[in-house]
């Protein structure tokens, strides 16, 4: 009661937003320690969720802003991951520092983004989706088979013993204790990922309300009109592909470092669909919605994994349905329900909301 009154008094107060922000900052800062007390696995899960949020933000530029449906987005994640793996593992005997490789990975992914974008400039909708789907598969199949005649990717075995992040004496794989606080590897990656995520959110937000962001939306709305208004649709579309891809490249690099091992199996088509689902479920075009979508779709399956078995055992005395089956069942159900009741996403952008509102179309 007292706290409710306290909140009421705060509402509308000038300091209220800052207090809210402070609360979020503190919560994000202590989160890994809270999670560690539950189980280190949860810190890893959180890290993976942040990685997916990064991917979703990248895909949001391509799909949400520019309206280019990309079904092979995971290819850029793969390109970033392999760039990191090949430059920081015993496979080639190269051990470059992470702050050199991550930009390289982003740049390589960016080039791949342009490679996908350039031939598909004239394609729209379904046709673009099919080509991007094929592109994602081509990249994966290449990774699978580039072990002969020269062994570049080590084929289906993947690349092992990938270096963790190292910065001077700071090793992301070691556990350090600072002032009584235990910083395990995943906790360190958590802070790094959080910083990258905040940066990515900032970039997305600023792009959204800029000359370039408006040009992307204009192309999505009506490409012919956009071009007639002087927008160089070719360059602006390529820019969307390139920027989206470099987000994927960075996320891939961090993924490789946190896992220590990658293989083509991590970059299958279903992953592309997963990232796209995060964007669509959260709310295409809205940065916060996209992050929400990524966090939800990353955590819910994990929570199910830990609860489905005990719940079924308690109810029926044995396990009837595998967690994986339930996960896909609920995922499908969630998508169907969402398309029926919230077609614009859980947290849509204003523009999307308008698009799906039932006022008259022309």
């Amino acid at each position: 009661m007292g706290s409710a009154l306290g909140f009421k008094a705060l509402r509308g107060h000038r300091a209220a937003p800052w207090l809210g922000l402070g609360f979020i900052v503190v919560a994000l800062a202590i989160l890994p320690f809270v999670l560690t007390s539950v189980g280190t696995a949860w810190v890893r899960i959180t890290n993976l969720a942040i990685l997916f949020a990064l991917l979703s933000l990248g895909l949001n530029i391509v799909v949400g802003f520019a309206g280019l449906l990309d079904l092979g987005y995971i290819a850029f994640y793969a390109v970033g991951a392999y760039s990191y793996a090949l430059l920081a593992s015993p496979h080639f005997g190269l051990h470059l520092p992470f702050w050199v490789i991550l930009p390289i990975g982003a740049a390589v992914a960016c080039v791949f983004g342009i490679m996908l974008g350039a031939p598909t400039l004239k394609l729209r909708g379904d046709y673009l989706a099919i080509v991007t789907l094929g592109f994602g598969e081509i990249v994966r199949i290449f990774l699978n088979n580039l072990s002969q005649p020269i062994n570049i990717t080590n084929g289906p075995q993947g690349v092992t013993l990938i270096d963790p992040f190292r910065l001077g004496s700071l090793d992301f794989n070691r556990t350090d204790t600072v002032a009584g606080l235990v910083f395990s590897g995943p906790v360190k990656y958590y802070y790094f990922l959080l910083a990258v995520l905040l940066l990515a959110i900032g970039i997305n937000l600023r792009l959204q309300n800029s000359r370039i962001g408006r040009a992307w939306v204009a192309i999505r709305e009506d490409e012919v009109a956009a071009q007639s208004m002087g927008i160089n649709t070719r360059n602006i579309k390529l820019l969307a592909f390139a920027m989206g891809a470099s987000f994927g490249g960075i996320a891939g690099g961090i993924f490789a470092a946190t896992q220590g091992f990658i293989s083509p199996e991590s970059f299958v088509f279903v992953e592309s669909i997963m990232v796209l689902s995060m964007v669509v479920l959260g709310g295409m075009g809205n940065v916060w919605g996209v992050v929400l979508g990524a966090v939800l779709l990353s955590f819910v399956p994990e929570i199910l994994r830990y609860t489905v078995e005990p719940v079924q055992k308690a109810l029926f005395g044995r396990m009837l349905i595998e967690p994986e089956v339930i996960r896909m069942l609920l995922f499908g159900l969630a998508l169907v329900l969402m398309m029926l009741y919230r077609p614009a996403g859980l947290w849509p952008s204003q523009r999307r909301k308008r698009e799906f509102s039932d006022s008259d179309h022309l």
Binding site: G202, I203, R206, L207, S210, R211, I212, G213, R214, A215, V217, A218, E221, D222, V224, A225, A226, Q227, S228, M229, G230, I231, N232, T233, L239, M243, R351, R352, R354, E355, S359, D360, H361, L362
Partner: protein, 257 residues
């Protein structure tokens, strides 16, 4: 030697399969005039517009705009060179607000790139501010300043037409090409449109107008060209063109007795 015309169209030909949409069309537009393009449905008026704005590449012929040959340029380059257009079947960015629509029109005259936007450089911020200011001015100019925050597709029809004009003006054109701007407008709106076009002309923008409303064309235009089956059958002052037997035949299907 006389001052070169703003736009010189020479022997433009455009075929779609066996259909000749434009056959050997030549015409010239002087600086500062309002030039009307009329003709029955299917005469090739919109095709000429599309050729002019780079959406179609002509099969033959050339057009010179402000001293430069524009044939084969992409629509965005044509806009850059100073030709802006509206569309017969309004093509606004439906889910963007009126303001945002006009702001998109400023794209071609501004430079801020992705990096400038991300770093929010001083230059990018100033430019964004200028874009916003100019767009607001243009909304007021065409008389829909009060609707800045309304989503384009929810605007009344006549206002959508005016918004399209504002968006086109945002590209700072030398030539404003309007494809049936009065279509679907009521009498009051047409009167307003007429005074708007006169104001645009007096502010130094040349206007090329496709229009079915013969009264509007005759009252507004300095010169008129008539297309029929892809051919130019008459050109000149409205009063003369109206009396041209060829034009009467095209519109009424035969010479008057």
């Amino acid at each position: 030697m006389q001052m070169a015309r703003l736009l010189e169209i020479r022997n433009i030909e455009k075929r779609f399969g066996g259909v000749s949409a434009l056959a050997d069309v030549s015409l010239g537009i002087e600086r500062g005039e309002i030039y009307g393009l009329i003709g029955p449905n299917g005469a090739g008026k919109t095709t000429l517009f599309n050729v002019l704005t780079g959406l179609y590449v002509p099969d033959r012929g050339e057009f010179e705009f402000n001293g430069a040959n524009l044939v084969g340029l992409k629509p965005n380059r044509v806009a850059e060179c100073g030709i802006a257009r509206t569309f017969q079947n309004i093509r606004l960015f439906g889910n963007m607000t009126a303001m945002e629509n006009v702001m998109v029109g400023r794209h071609v005259r501004t430079q801020a790139g992705a990096l400038g936007a991300i770093l929010r450089t001083r230059h990018a911020r100033q430019e964004e501010e200028a874009i916003r200011r100019r767009s607001r001015e243009l909304l007021d100019y065409v008389g829909i300043g009060q609707y800045d925050d309304i989503v384009a597709r929810n605007l009344p029809y006549g206002d959508q037409r005016r918004l399209e004009i504002a968006r086109a003006l945002a590209t700072e054109p030398r030539l404003l090409a309007l494809d049936e701007p009065a279509a679907g407008m009521n009498a009051t709106e047409t009167v307003q449109l007429r005074s708007l076009l006169e104001r645009i002309r007096s502010d130094g923008v040349t206007v090329l107008l496709i229009e079915h409303d013969v009264k509007l064309v005759m009252g507004l235009c300095d010169r008129v060209a008539v297309l029929d089956y892809g051919k130019k059958i008459a050109e000149g002052e409205p009063a003369l063109v109206r009396a041209d037997p060829e034009v009467i035949r095209a519109y009424l299907g035969g010479a008057l007795p």
